[in-house]
Amino acid sequence: MTIVPRRQVLKSAGLAGLAILLPPEVLAACSATSAPAKGKPPHRRVGGRTWLVFDAHEADVVEDATARLIPGPQDDPSEAGHPGAREANVTRYIDTVLGALTIMPAKIFAGGPFSDRAGSKLDDMASFLGLTPAQTHAWTRRLATFRGQYRQGVKTLDKIAGGDFTSLSGARMDAILAQDPGGFMTLLFGHAIEGMYSVPEYGGNAGLVGWHEIDWPGDQQPRGFTDAEVSLSDGPDAYVPAGIGKQLIKLLGISP
């Protein structure tokens, strides 16, 4: 999905812009090689799943690929105790958005004002909203493009894999995805992010694992927060720069 350039994302957009300025040798110094994952991860597929858009193989490829992008304990040993795209049901999220217009009302805009997670008995978000003609026009085109990209993207991954992407080791999958063939990894990653951290009514973030992972409380209406929770410190919580975070800090530290 296109990221909307607007006030809320400017800070991050600015950071990316900043990096463009940096000379390659600085970027190279910021970059470190991380150890490749070894072997094919054991994981269990839920049998008998039905999909709006995917066929069974497409769903398997999308599931394995997104689990490389946002790995869970089954996918990367360093993520023990930390659920990822597989656990959050990201494939279900993606299939739902691709087929959103085959359901009435379309599964594009969850309702409001409240879910049942923060003090309301009713989950308004479970009832999706009708689209305006302008929205229908836009989403019909957008989703047709996405569906074509997924059909083609899965074929491309299989082709590079020499037949079946899902038969590869995690390390081999990573190597193929890192090439971003046809921009498919970028598309998948964007959608995996949405399926991981959006409200669960869209089909992902199963059991709120995406939010629990990052200490994000999610939607808060109608309960909200107290004034004290807004105004007071939560207390010390030290971050010790290490690994990729340390590299990010190094990158940002070289600001003009």
């Binding site: 490389r68 949405e194 995406g210």
Partner: protein
């Protein structure tokens, strides 16, 4: 029989104009191109389907979807055009105020008398407004009462804030709870001699006019308020509806019909694209600069001096980010931010005159600086997606991504600072119709040509280090500042389409039809019953959030129209 008034746009300006005209006995119809996400707007507390849902807003729930309603941007007439989302504000009932951060500073005395008090700047069309601060001040009071502004006037800095925008009475509500991170950065500001204060904002700190106090849900800037603690244009819209106005949503006006010096009505398309006409005794344009100009150009309104759409102003922004290692800042609670500083809006800020002179300018200004704010998880995750391309090109995903999400350097440990700054009015910054791109209805879209001038570039060079300095003084372990709009001096923003969401000018007010599009009452110089009631009429942009001034100006103007007719 009462006279008919047709108002195009239900946002900040249009709602105020509709309220005044309906109360004065006009038969008012408000045309809103977008959807209505509210029920029972005439009631104290309308229902809504806005919610705490980041993905929904990313999917253009309230913004025009660039796949069906794009715009075109060029940084200069020679630059390659970019088609997509350009300075989009919500096109829904309530307009931009359904998602605004509701900061309601007033413009300063020097904004209204810019030419007289600060003098000309070569290359820019510096002009006085048709009214001064003293004249607009009572209208500010009325709008603050109407929409419910919270703030403690006695705690505003005497200099420069109250010196340039004096107040005769307190605001209707006290300030709400200070944001922890805003207070933290405010301390840093004090350490380097700046003057932070809790900004006035139209967010209820207690129940007000039948609406509840804000409960700090944290989905404020960029989101529709789920509980009506922040209403903006919905307050005057409610008054307009109660006085008998009719609201038509999904109704896009595509032409102002004219006959000689008269606007006779409008041609509009319903949501299914079916054309209709409506006759009126007066027509009010309030679709905000870009769409108002687009409509004027689509209608072929008289423009003998080629002025319509010129002097477009955005405010240039500088985005600061402070990262704190010692604690998480929980910016996801409460308002976007609570504190501001006004120091950088002062042309006499220490060193500013000297730096201006060195740049060959008589003076320059930035504007208010907002202290606080961060991003939410989807935007945070996308930041890491971008950054990992640079940091780990051999595997820009995986466990590294998840580690970054857990550390949350760019969300829970981040405190943003946003410097909003004055854009001068240049004839070359403009809106016109794109020669080839059409919206989903087949109508030519707006093309925006915009770039900063010498004043903006020099002021940004001077103030950008201050943003870093105040964040460092607040204890940020990493402090950076990045310009938001490209210039020769700051090319790193080159690929960015302006998204400051402060949009002004294009139909400026003035006495002389050779240099302005509308007169001192917002009336079109060549059409006696066509008025403009949005930020398009601003002759200059000030250095503060424009919405309160749009509403106060619309209130002044519509009061005159209602009395005159």
């Amino acid at each position: 029989m009462s006279q008919r008034a047709l108002v195009v746009g239900s946002g900040a300006g249009g709602s105020v104009a509709a309220m005044v005209l309906a109360r004065a006995g006009f038969d008012v119809t408000i045309f809103e191109k977008g959807a209505n996400y509210f029920t029972d707007l005439a009631s104290d507390r309308p229902g809504t389907v806005f919610s705490n849902d980041e993905l929904k807003m990313d999917r253009y729930f309230s913004l025009p979807d660039p796949s069906s309603e794009p715009r075109v941007y060029r940084s200069s007439p020679q630059a390659p055009p970019i088609t997509g989302a350009v300075q989009d504000l919500p096109q829904t009932v309530g307009g931009g105020s359904v998602h605004w951060d509701a900061k309601t500073p007033r413009f300063w005395d020097i904004d209204f008398k810019k030419l007289s008090m600060l003098g000309p700047v070569r290359g820019a069309n510096i002009a006085d407004w048709p009214f001064d601060y003293d004249e607009i001040s009572p209208y500010y009071d009325q709008v603050e009462e109407l929409i419910g502004v919270a703030g403690d006037v006695h705690l505003f800095p005497a200099d420069p804030t109250l010196a340039h925008a004096p107040r005769s009475r307190p605001l209707p509500m006290p300030a709400g709870p200070p944001q922890y991170s805003s207070a933290l950065v405010s301390e840093g500001c004090r350490r380097v001699g700046l003057h932070p204060f809790i900004a006035p904002m139209a967010i209820n700190s207690r129940s007000y006019a039948g609406r509840p106090a804000c409960n700090n849900c944290g989905f404020c800037s960029g989101y529709g308020c789920p509980i009506q603690a922040r209403v903006g244009a919905l307050a005057p819209l409610r008054e307009a509806l109660r006085a008998g106005a009719e609201l038509r949503s999904g109704a896009m006006v595509v032409k102002v019909d004219t006959n000689g010096r008269k606007a006779t009505g409008v041609t509009w398309l319903d949501a299914q694209n079916k054309p209709h006409t409506e006759t009126g005794d007066i027509v009010v344009l309030a679709a905000l600069s870009i769409e108002t100009v687009r409509l004027a150009l689509l209608s072929g309104l008289p423009d003998p001096y080629d002025l319509a759409g010129r002097q477009l102003m955005f405010h240039w922004f500088t985005e600061g980010s402070g990262i704190f290692f010692s604690e998480r800042l929980h910016n996801y609670r409460g308002r976007d931010h609570t504190h501001d500083i006004d120091d950088f809006a002062d042309p006499d800020f220490p060193g500013a005159r000297k730096a201006a002179k060195a740049a060959g300018l008589p003076y320059f200004r930035a504007g208010k600086c907002e202290l606080g704010g961060t991003q939410r998880p989807l935007d945070e995750a996308r930041s890491y997606q971008e950054v990992l391309r640079l940091l780990a090109p051999q595997k820009p995903f995986g466990a590294d991504f998840k580690q970054l999400m857990r550390a949350s350097l760019l969300r829970d440990r981040l405190c943003g600072v946003e410097l909003i700054a004055e854009d001068l009015p240049y004839a070359t910054n403009r809106v016109d119709l794109d020669p080839s791109v059409r919206d989903w209805r087949g109508i030519p879209v707006a093309r925006i040509t915009y770039g900063p001038g010498p004043s903006e570039i020099a002021a940004q060079a001077f103030y950008l280090p201050w943003v870093v300095k105040l964040l460092k003084a607040a204890g940020a372990d990493v402090a950076i500042a990045v310009p938001e709009i490209a210039s020769t001096r700051f090319p790193i923003a080159q690929d960015q389409v302006p998204a400051t969401e402060h949009v002004m000018g294009g139909m400026p007010m003035g006495a002389d039809p050779r240099t302005s599009v509308t007169d001192g009452q917002g009336r079109h110089h060549h059409l006696d019953n066509l008025f403009v009631a949005d930020g398009a009429v601003f002759p200059s942009s000030g250095g503060h959030n424009p919405t309160l001034t749009i509403m106060a100006t619309a209130l002044r103007q519509a009061t005159i129209w209602a009395g005159a007719d």
